[in-house]
């Protein structure tokens, strides 16, 4: 088995008196889709934040493989886009933030818009998009560079069947290309479809 791209060991995090994560340990391997299931408030989003390196735990260690530098992509549950910009302008910003420019940038944005079926609306403001389209663009913004680790927070919430199908097929293709995917959700069905293994997070502990 390959070495893990990400390891968490004995992660503990509290917000005030409330312990959100308690001795959480896990490994994520390249080319696997790992699901983390839990009810609302179980600490799933916080766990993703720690995996992404956006939140520092109170104790425990986070180890990432060197090749992950700037290749971790996060798709948050909220729509992390600029609503007053167009879909294309949003993708241009994120592509430039990742250092893409010129023809590669244009090609990547064109590919993503096509892949997520958003070409027709690319020049419209995001605030005019339907919920499903906004979620797809939210995903596209995370994929402006090919990630080595993709973190998805409730990616299918509020999506129509077509959008779920597009998302899951994209996840499968990323996995086949060697990308590690972590998917957190409170729903079991999509986990069964997409994940190689599923962990249960309850009261801040992994079961």
């Amino acid at each position: 088995m390959d070495a893990p791209v990400l390891s968490l060991k004995d992660i503990v995090l509290s917000y005030g008196a409330e312990r959100v994560l308690d001795s959480v340990s896990l490994d994520v391997y390249p080319g696997e889709v790992l699901g983390v299931r839990g009810v609302n408030g179980a600490g799933k989003s916080t766990l993703l934040g720690i995996m992404a390196g956006l939140i520092a735990p109170d104790s425990g260690t986070r180890t990432v493989s060197p090749e992950l530098k700037s290749r971790i992509a996060l798709v948050p549950q909220e729509i992390a886009l600029y609503p007053s910009l167009t879909g294309r302008q949003n993708l241009e910003f994120w592509a430039e933030a990742y250092g893409l420019k010129g023809a590669p940038k244009k090609a990547r944005i064109g590919y993503l818009l096509k892949e997520l079926n958003l070409q027709d609306k690319a020049r419209k403001r995001v605030e005019t998009y339907s919920g499903g389209m906004q979620r797809r663009l939210n995903m596209a913004a995370a994929l402006v560079v090919t990630p080595k680790l993709l973190l998805l927070d409730e990616p299918t919430v509020g999506l129509d069947t077509e959008s779920v199908s597009i998302m899951l097929s994209l996840i499968t293709r990323l996995k086949n290309a060697g990308c590690a995917v972590v998917l957190v959700s409170h729903a079991g069905d999509e986990m069964k479809l997409a994940c190689d293994r599923v962990l249960e997070l309850k009261d801040g502990r992994l079961l």
Binding site: S45, T46, L48, G49, A52, G53, L54, I55, K69, S70, I72, A73, L74, P76, E78, I79, A80, L81, Y82, P83, S84, L85, T86, Q89, E92, F93, W94, E96, A97, Y98, G99, K101, A141, A142
Partner: protein, 391 residues
């Protein structure tokens, strides 16, 4: 590269594209047009009640006595205090809009072509009235200087090249007549003329007001996206791309500065207001204060709509209490006392005072710099906690 991406994105966020861009870019021009249109047919009476001034005569000549005695006839000055042993500070404290000191040998220096001027201490709690005094006495000095040139030319035609003794005689013969000419023929102290000077003061007043609006409005507009950037995970996503959220704030600062700089320069040029070092410092302090204030508000409220509502409310308060809509001294005691320390009053003061009067302006600068330092210090932990809370 990331900073450039942020700049490009922030320009797009600021202007919005399409018809909104045009409206947005036209806004400063519309403000200036409305201002000039509103000033048509306006006289200073609309904005100024009569007010007291103090005069100190250190020249003690017949001409200085004449000059000062004519001030008593001016309706705009409801009281002319003839200062003796009081200091300027005491006279301003007593409510005088300005203390005008005619320095020793003032008239002789004028006729000797030496650089000279009356010395004016302004009451910065009454900036609008102070502007009238400044422009009125500026006009008198200009007229006297022009008369001096005419007298000197006439004397040379009549007597040829003059030695010191002849020059002294010419000075005695001509000075009184020239002063009288300056005061009566050119009608410096007629009410109409005075109102025209007041109009100049009103122009400065409007200039300070519109610049203050721009100083407050542009950063407020620029920072309206901050709650969603922090709250929706945009900041976190940007961090993952290797960028820093502080870079995005810096980008907003740069874009807001450009959007403030261009219309402000336009207004200064159109209104022919001299950009002194003091005024430049006042404008920079105002901008930094405004940006940091709205940044902290947007971080504290965490909601775009609430942030905009709070920002606009504060902006209106600063403009109202600072005397942007109506001179602060006429708004009542409470507002009058603070107007000079708020943006419109402070910018107007900086327009009136000489370019090197940093000592006089220091308390007003501190009223902006200290809050700026506090807001800037608060911003960093608020941004960090915002990202952590969201995640």
């Amino acid at each position: 590269m990331r900073f450039l991406a942020c700049l490009k994105k922030d320009i797009r966020l600021m202007t919005g594209g399409g018809i909104r861009t045009l409206l947005f870019l036209a806004l400063p021009a519309v403000l200036v047009f409305l201002m000039l249109w509103g000033m048509r047919g306006l006289d200073a009476e609309s904005f100024t009640k009569s007010f007291p001034i103090a005069v100190r005569d250190n020249d003690n000549t017949l001409m200085s006595g004449m000059l000062i005695s004519r001030l008593d006839d001016i309706g705009m000055f409801d009281k002319v205090v003839h200062a003796e042993n009081e200091t300027d500070g005491e006279l301003l404290e007593a409510g005088c809009a300005a203390v005008v000191t005619v320095p020793k040998d003032f008239f002789y220096d004028i006729y000797d072509m030496s650089d000279t001027d009356v010395v004016i201490s302004l009451n910065m709690n009454m900036p609008h009235e102070a502007a009238i005094v400044m422009s009125t006495f500026g006009a008198i000095t200009r007229l006297l200087t022009e008369n001096q040139r005419a007298s000197y030319a006439a004397a040379r035609v009549k007597y040829g090249e003059l030695g010191p003794v002849e020059w002294e005689a010419v000075y005695r013969d001509y000075s009184l007549a020239a002063l009288d000419s300056a005061l009566s023929r050119l009608d410096v102290f007629s009410m109409d003329e005075l109102y025209t000077k007041g109009y100049d003061g009103t122009k400065l007043f409007f200039g300070a007001s519109v610049i203050s609006m721009i100083m407050l409005f542009m950063p407020l507009m620029m920072l309206r996206s901050v709650p969603e950037e922090i709250g929706s995970g945009l900041a976190g996503r940007f961090s993952l791309a290797g960028g820093s959220v502080y870079l995005t704030v810096l980008s907003k600062l740069a874009i807001a500065f450009i959007f403030v700089l261009v219309p402000t320069a336009l207004i200064l040029i159109v209104l022919k207001i001299k950009l002194t070092l003091l005024l430049a410092a006042a404008l920079v302090c105002s901008f930094l204060f405004s940006f940091s204030l709205f940044l902290v508000i947007s971080l504290l409220t965490k909601d775009a709509a609430l942030s905009q509502f709070s920002g606009v409310s504060l902006m209106l308060f600063i403009l109202l209490a600072g005397g942007a809509f109506y001179p602060g001294a006429l708004l009542g005691k409470a507002f009058g006392a603070i107007s000079g320390y708020l943006m419109p009053g402070m910018i107007l003061s900086a327009m009136l005072l000489p370019g090197g009067a940093f000592k006089e302006m220091l308390p007003r600068f501190l009223a902006l710099i200290v809050p700026f330092a506090v807001f800037a210090a608060l911003s960093a932990p608020l941004i960090r906690s915002g990202i952590r809370r969201r995640a």
